[in-house]
Amino acid sequence: MGFKEAVEATPNLQGKWIAGLGALRREDKPHVKPEDTTTTRLRGSVYIDRALQAQDPHGNRWDFAIGYQHTNRSDEFIYWVETHTGSDSQISVMLRKLDWLKAWLKGDGKELAKFDKLYVWAPSGATSFTKGATQVKILATKGLHYSGSVFKIPKKHAIAKRN
């Protein structure tokens, strides 16, 4: 099952898959830059936050899922991207969002959980810490990659994978 099929198989996400980065809001698009813009390696995107708003209005819902086919992998990969404002005080909010996402992936999102993934925080607005900061390391140990303002989706994944 590819990314698109997995989205369609997920409760409350039917019909929410959009080609390319189409699910990203205009203000979020500058925060995600695929290195390879000339191919159709982008396998589509979903605006999770909006799609699940009615079902879970008070949850710390995650922003987006982006499916991507790297040149050195046979499987599709999911980038879970959040563009929440970046500041020290928001770290706990981000960790709550990550907890929400992980819990959702264990339940309704179980088809999407089968993909290899990277949780990414590409914050909008000003950031109050550096890429080498302890806060960023804390996030990393929770599985969350702080990319800085722009997350560049690499053409090749760091870990090649062939079935």
């Binding site: 970046g86 290899d116 993934k117 990277l118 949780y119 914050p123 000003a126 950031t127 109050s128 810490f129 550096t130 890429k131 080498g132 960023v136 390391k137 996030l139 990393a140 140990t141 929770k142 599985g143 969350l144 990659h145 702080y146 990319s147 800085g148 303002s149 722009v150 760091a158 870990i159």
Partner: protein, 380 residues
């Protein structure tokens, strides 16, 4: 703001440097940072450089290649690329051919240079004279070494060099004792008639000679002597007519806590009115500048800056002054040979060279990403 514009000199294709009160150059090895700083010395002190070189028997016979080899070091004439190489100092086109050909009127030295190779300044625990080096060694190294020799011989005959009440404020002495020297004192010792610097515990016969010092102590002692030279034990705040200080790679051999103390000493130089230029490979230095910038912009209390350095409240006035100073940061980029202005140090910048602080935080970024990936995909 003084400016130095360099085109086609060595690895540098283009560098437009505006100097703040504190200017920091970062970038990989062999990207031209040291060339830029040595060139700055030449621009500021051409007459003094010529006079010193002549005094110690260097004769370049008006030849630019010979002058370049004598000044920058053996083989460095190749960095000059004929008509393509251009240098502007404060918007004036400087003719290096003319500097090599015609002797300038000697004037008092305005720039003190602490080179990256400062560990070479001590041999067997005593500063080497200018003439102890080979003619192919860079002028900056030889001159620094000679300055230290003069300092130790004229101003410290038979005294303890550290701790030394007349040299640094007590707060600095306490920090150095805590983070660099521990229980040791730096003093002049004599073996028969030969003087040497040793680290002593205060117990008779328990002196550690130079060869058993730690790498950090060997690096730090010439640096300390450089600071002593710049901070004379008199009521005047600066030595002679020195206005500029260049300090290359202040972090060499030092633990981060010692680097913090050296940065505070750099702040002391700024408070004394020196204009300071650093080169560094330490992200800690840029962390400090980043904090300084934001504390300044947000009108924070100087106590916040002291907190960053775990410095005592007695340094409040120093922190207060430093927060009024201007700063510039440049990244010397290898592939294009340009120096980029990354003064904003914006971790959110779309320019990787700025968000990654000229490569100094890129490794941390990659390490963080690898860990995040591993945790996200773990079966645990």
């Amino acid at each position: 703001m003084p400016t130095l514009r360099i085109e086609n000199l060595g690895q540098i294709r283009e560098a437009n440097l505006d100097f703040g009160d504190l200017t920091v150059l970062v970038g990989p090895q062999a990207t031209g940072k040291s060339i830029a700083l040595q060139l700055l010395k030449l621009m500021v002190d051409a007459g003094q450089v010529q006079e010193e070189m002549s005094r110690y028997g260097l004769d370049w016979s008006g030849s630019l290649p010979d002058f370049m080899d004598a000044y920058f070091g053996e083989g460095m004439h190749s960095i000059w690329n004929g008509e393509k190489s251009r240098v502007h100092w404060d918007d004036e086109l400087m003719n290096l051919q003319q500097i090599a050909k015609r002797k300038r009127k000697p004037k008092a030295e305005n720039l003190f240079f602490i080179p990256a190779q400062r560990v070479l300044a001590l041999r067997d625990g005593w500063p080497r004279p200018f003439t102890d080096y080979t003619p192919g060694d860079p002028f900056a190294v030889r001159e620094f070494s000679e300055k230290l020799r003069g300092l130790v011989e004229k101003e410290f005959s038979g005294e303890s060099l550290f701790p030394q009440e007349r040299r640094l404020k007590k707060a600095f002495r306490d920090l150095l004792e805590r983070d660099v020297f521990s229980k040791y004192a730096l003093k002049v010792d004599k073996v028969r008639s030969q003087k040497r610097l040793v680290l002593g515990t205060g117990q008779e016969g328990e002196n550690l000679p130079y060869m058993v010092w730690s790498a950090g102590q060997r690096e730090f002692v010439p640096l300390l002597l450089g600071f002593y030279w710049l901070m004379p034990p008199t009521k005047v705040s600066r030595r002679g007519e020195i206005e500029w200080v260049v300090l290359e790679e202040l972090e060499m051999g030092l633990h981060p806590r010692a680097i913090s103390v050296v940065l505070l000493l750099v702040f002391e130089l700024l408070e004394r009115g020196y204009r300071v230029c650093l080169s560094t490979h330490s992200s800690q230095v840029l962390d400090a500048l980043w904090a300084l910038k934001h504390l300044r912009e947000n009108g924070a209390s100087p106590n916040e800056l002291l907190d960053v350095f775990e410095a005592p409240k007695s340094m409040y006035a120093l922190a207060e002054t430093v927060m009024t100073k201007t700063q510039k940061v440049y990244y010397f980029e290898r592939s294009k040979g340009v120096a980029k202005d990354i003064t904003d140090l914006d971790p959110n910048s779309k320019e990787k060279s700025e968000s990654g602080w000229g490569g100094l935080s890129e490794f941390s970024g990659r390490a963080n990403e690898a860990v995040a990936r591993a945790v996200a995909n773990s079966n645990k």
